[in-house]
């Protein structure tokens, strides 16, 4: 990491010249303003241009934090017709997570007509987790419904589940103990 040391950055402070939307908290500024910021910054540095040595260290190696990063024009380089494809479909997306796995998968419940179809996804998540079957860890699919209650998947008809499901989580069996199955006739109150 030596060659990235921040001693004496050559002329170009790229972090400052990044295309951002402006200071955090400020409303979005127009393109012209962004460009002015860029040129003003460089104007200031131009006095040093003679001393600029091209082997100097460059951009800050600090990764931009997710919250401070503004949207860059044309980055990542995805073509417009690809962007549109994903957003047009409405669908009913719920997050599906597995205890211990780092990724939350977003799944469109409208693609499925039955638990069987939907649970084939669950199987793959399971397989990943169960790479070490020696553990004897077992996963139980659970979901959070409209009322915020955590229920076992499979107790109500699929359509009812699809309508009321907000997100899905594969819990370990030990954690899932204590989740009561919802009675057949659902009362409108949230008590289970």
């Amino acid at each position: 990491m030596n060659n990235l040391s921040e001693s004496g950055k050559s002329g170009m402070n790229l972090k400052e010249t990044e295309l951002t939307l402006g200071l955090p908290g400020e409303p979005r500024v127009g393109k012209a303003c962004m460009k002015r910021v860029f040129s003003e910054t460089v104007d200031l540095e131009l006095g040093n241009s003679g001393k600029k040595d091209s082997s100097g260290s460059g951009s800050s190696m600090k990764k931009e934090s997710a919250t401070s990063r503004g949207k860059l024009v044309g980055w990542p380089p995805v073509r417009a017709h690809r962007k549109n494809i994903m957003t047009v479909k409405s669908g009913k997306y719920v997050k599906v997570g597995v205890d211990g796995a780092p990724y939350l998968r977003k799944v469109d419940l409208e693609l499925y007509n039955s638990y069987e179809q939907f649970l084939s996804i669950r199987t793959v998540l399971d397989e990943k987790k169960l790479m070490d079957p020696v553990n004897g860890v077992e996963y139980v699919p659970t979901y959070e419904d409209k009322d915020g209650d955590w229920m076992l998947v499979g107790d109500v008809p699929w359509k009812m589940f699809a309508e009321s499901c907000k997100r899905v989580r594969l819990m370990t069996r030990s954690e899932a103990i204590g989740l009561a199955p919802r009675p057949e006739t659902k009362c409108s109150s949230s008590s289970s």
Binding site: L72, V73, G74, P76, V78, M86, K89
Partner: protein, 583 residues
Amino acid sequence: MAYSFPEEVLEYVFSFINSDKDRNAVSLVCKSWYEIERWCRRRIFIGNCYAVTPGIMVRRFPEIRSVEIKGKPHFADFNLVPEGWGGYVYPWVVAMSRAYPWLEEIRLKRMVVSDECLELISKSFKNFKVLVMSSCEGFSTDGLASIVANCRNLKELDLRESEVEDLSGHWLSHFPDTCTSLVSLNIACLASEVSFSALERLVSRCPNLKSLQLNRAVPLEKLPNLLRGAPQLVELGTGAYSAELRPELLSNLFDAFTVCKELKGLSGFWDVVPAYLPAIYPVCNGLTSLNLSYATIQSPDISKLISQCQNLERLWVLDYIEDSGLDILATCCKNLEELRVFPSDPYGVEQNVALTEQGLVSVSEGCPKLQSVLYFCRRMSNAALVTIARNRPNLIRFRLCIIEARATDYLTLEPLDAGFGAIVENCRELRRLSLSGLLTDRVFEYIGKHAKKLEMLSIAFAGDGDLGLHHVLSGCESLRKLEIRDSPFGDKALLANAAKLETMRSLWMSSCSVSYGACKLLGQRLPRLNVEVIDERGTPESRPESCPIEKLYIYRTVAGPRFDTPGFIWTMDEEGNTPLGIA
């Protein structure tokens, strides 16, 4: 010359020479070969519409039948080229309408095409057969109606990813009932519904139809009939691939696919319902090309499909395939030559899929013929890149996009110089390279040293200073196209390598550190280049010469400065004067 062949003999010999490079070489042998060649050239490719004028083209080549023209720079695909930049095909069509009454084919890429233009095409060329418009814009479905109504021998109408003003689907009904010549129809980019009965009749009366790419508005229910009308199809793009689960539709679809014995390529698959995927099982084994890049299906469904496509040569897919799916690809598809993995959630901040560098490593291990890669991911390491490079020295195209700009090697937190260095060092035939991640001047040193066959290089958020650009311009002998954004490259490297720019098609630089003064100097020194400054802040004359410009596009040309520049483009002139353009 006493011992030369008669013209007719030479002409006959030349008729076997079709590549542009060879034709150009032939024309340079002597004056008489130049003359004979120019009269018998039938096909011309113009990589930059501003490198030459229509007048020059028709004067030199009087008997052209097929023209291919490209307009905007590649970065236009990512909104980096402002609206109104140019690339108008109209002057070309006007000149050709007068000079080439027997013109048969027009292929355009990133050009602006108007409805008047399309109408002019449809009325000027009696034997017009092929219209391909890739990433074009400026026309509506009315223009399409002119083409299909008037071009009696139309073989190909291909709208590849063009932006069309979609007034209605009526245009398709303008195909005359007598039209039976269609070989290829691609309307995938259109939103409106076309008349399904007109489409069915068209498809079933064209016995030579080989390629049909439907748009999303064609529902799945219509597909079986369409397929039955064209069992000879080689390429199919489905419409929306979803419907409520109905067993009879599934079996109908399955039976229809069974009849398509020639099918080699599949695409489309919008709104895919996984339950309908088994309908394509009958054709999977014969597929060489599969485009699932609009299909929002998950890894297990993708994997099931891929494992049946053992002859796949090309796969385009979303990152939903994940590392696990890529493992299966690596195991099952030993003929794979091209892989493109697109991001499902490019602007999301968190990783949403289990796709990492490992997937690409697996494919590089398992697929010995892999030569072309486009890969979007959220992390990479030098070690992985080195492994990929060693596994696949036969790579020709390598485009890696790590979504976070300037991302480091996630294991060591170092720049990715060594990894990309390994790519160019091992892959001696590499022609196209796109870089991403944190990169210093060192990577450009490697590129300049090793990438001798590299023709196109894309750079973003990379390098430390002029030395990096200098390495590339001085070292990459085969470089034709260089596009750079948001990198600290400036005047010194450009001025030191000015002559190199005349050996290239074009150079694009945006949000770099090139000063207006340097642009003026380049314009002065190199009269055979157009040095175009693009700046939406108003004339660069109003700012100090040392001030960097927003965007720069330099290209070689025999046409001189162009006359259709919009108000935000200034062409540096040869005298070093106030540049041409609206002040």
